[in-house]
């Protein structure tokens, strides 16, 4: 099995998991869910550090450092703001 096929398999299965985990969400949680998913794609920070780690030219280094700053804002800010939203649901033991 070629590497590309493995990647494709992972990709397709991830699509189905993504569809499946959010298919039954009440509208109450749409905003936090969007915000939480938003924080998760902040994981591009992982990729940004990867490329920064091997950058040797000034251009590459500056671009990847900029990417790290943006990705960190996305990830950390995203999780914090989601937590703040969810804090408000605390102790309400929803019926949905």
């Amino acid at each position: 099995m070629s590497h590309s096929i493995v990647i494709l398999t992972i990709f397709v299965l991830s699509i189905f998991i993504g569809f499946e985990v959010v298919s039954k969400v009440s509208t109450t949680l749409h905003t936090p869910l969007m915000s939480g998913a938003n924080a998760i794609h902040g994981i591009i920070l992982f990729g940004a550090i990867m490329v920064a780690d091997k950058s040797t030219t000034v251009l590459s280094t500056s671009l990847s450092i900029a990417a790290i700053v943006l990705a960190t804002i996305n990830m950390v800010g995203g999780f914090v703001v989601t937590d703040r939203m969810l804090e408000m649901f605390k102790g309400k033991g929803g019926k949905k």
């Binding site: 699509i15 794609h41 990705a71 950390v76 999780f79």
Partner: protein
């Protein structure tokens, strides 16, 4: 670090993200889910420094400094933001994520061009990442400016706009092909700039209540961008995480579009075809009945059943605590009180639920649209607090108006309707609301919080 261990930690992080999304789908587990996701992301950020494929580490201190700087910017922004400004902050976070993904692919592209070791598939993935990441970035910035009301919230349509957009899109695709074929840096730069432009043009004509759908769509876009970036970097973790967000974001976007009763296509391209302000001709100086806080208090006092319909005006005025005070007062008088929650009231789906949860409104009182609509004929008074579009009958009666087809709360079926409004200015979607001119409607002008406070004290004196 050992290759397998590194890959296994990546797997654990991917699983934590799945658990995070799963947890976020139910109120009880949502907070824990978010924390699991955050823990996974932190683990990934630490472990990437031990990437076994990377023998020589460059720029470690710069990297740590950049992360620290990002934290210093991101955390206070997330902590200090008002609940009302939440949607635009999410839009902004989403935009910077898309921008980061585009930059990562560009850097990888630059480093590979030095070794001439690029294969077509990863160049295509790079093109995808740069295009979609840039669109997401500039589009989100425009969304932010709209929601922050730095620029107009109305659809911006200029003559020949659709041709400009189409031409830009053709330009983006053309330069994309150029990049794949020739592989230079210049075409990539041109493509990036055109994509940024396309993002701006794509969001400008989207107006009013459709903006939340666009945020959600751009969120899904950024997820896919991250997945494509993962392909470029050959990172399974990025592929899985990005795809998860792309897929769940798409579903969420569809759910939101469904809540507004329109197809996604209609939302995004509706602004081209809709005639703006279809209902305004009739809106010249028609008489309205405006009341005092005492009138409103009397109406409420003699009702048996009251439904409160909150909207963005409630959020702006930070009136969620006052509205709960009023509801408690009415409940104490034996009046049946419920909140009618339109799925897209406010600027984001679930926006009202978040706000009212902040004010400790009992969960059982929040009733969703499908359940509350049949009860309006038995309702004596509907109190509309800073909502407009979600109760506008034009959505049913005026084909061609921007919100036509959106399900609304049928507040017109109730005995009396009270609108708390700042002014006669139409709602976010910019459409006149005929309900305001009905004889059964009473208007109380002013900031929602001030008005509610006055009604509460009037009610106490009755």
């Amino acid at each position: 670090m050992n290759n397998n261990l590194y890959a296994l930690i990546g797997l654990a992080v991917a699983v934590s993200f799945i658990m995070a999304l799963k947890g976020l789908s139910a109120p009880k587990t949502a907070r824990r889910g978010n924390l699991i996701g955050a823990a996974g992301a932190t683990l990934a950020t630490i472990v990437v420094f031990f990437d076994p494929a990377q023998k020589v580490h460059h720029n470690t201190f710069l990297i740590l400094g950049a992360i620290a700087f990002g934290v210093i910017v991101g955390v206070p922004a997330a902590r200090r933001i008002q609940m009302t400004q939440m949607p635009q902050l999410v839009a902004l976070f989403n935009g910077v994520g898309g921008g980061a993904a585009a930059l990562v692919s560009i850097v990888e592209y630059l480093s590979l061009s030095n070794n001439s070791a690029r294969d077509t598939a990863s160049t295509i993935a790079t093109v995808f990442t740069v295009v979609v990441g840039s669109v997401s970035f500039s589009g989100s910035v425009i969304t932010f400016l709209k929601l922050q009301e730095i620029m107009t919230t109305r659809p911006v349509v200029f003559p020949g706009g659709r041709f400009v957009i189409a031409a830009t899109l053709v330009g983006v695709l053309g330069t994309g092909v150029w990049v794949v074929n020739s592989g230079g840096n210049t075409p990539l730069a041109i493509m990036g700039v055109l994509s940024l432009l396309f993002g701006v043009l794509f969001v400008l004509p989207v107006g009013g209540a459709d903006v939340p759908i666009v945020i959600s769509l751009l969120n899904a876009f950024t997820g896919l961008t991250v997945a494509a970036g993962g392909y470029v970097l050959d990172s399974t973790l990025l592929i899985v995480a990005g795809t998860l967000v792309g897929a769940s974001g798409t579903i969420l976007t569809r759910l939101m579009a469904a809540a507004m009763g329109r197809s996604l296509f209609g939302t995004l391209f509706g602004a081209f075809t809709a005639k703006p302000q279809a209902a305004t001709e009739a809106g010249e100086a028609r008489p309205v009945k405006s009341g005092s806080p005492d009138d409103v208090a009397i109406l409420l006092n003699y009702a048996q059943r009251v439904v409160i319909v909150p909207g963005f005006g409630l959020a702006v005025a930070q009136a969620q605590h006052t509205v709960r005070e009023l509801a408690d007062l009415l409940t104490a008088k034996g009046i049946d009180v419920a909140y009618g929650i339109h799925p897209v009231a406010g600027r984001m789906p679930g926006h009202m639920n978040v706000l009212l949860a902040e004010a400790n409104v009992p969960y059982e009182q929040l009733v969703e649209m499908e359940e509350i609509n049949p009860t309006f004929p038995q309702t004596d008074v509907v109190l509309v607090v800073g909502a407009n579009d979600v109760v506008n009958p034009a959505a049913k009666t005026t084909p061609g108006c921007p919100i036509y087809g959106m399900p609304i709360l049928d507040v017109g079926l109730a005995g009396n309707v009270i609108f708390l409004k700042r002014s006669m200015r139409p709602g976010f979607a910019g459409i006149e609301n005929d309900l305001l001119y009905e004889p059964k409607t009473t208007l109380l002008f002013g900031d929602a919080k001030d008005s509610l406070t006055k009604v509460v004290s009037a009610l106490k004196n009755l």
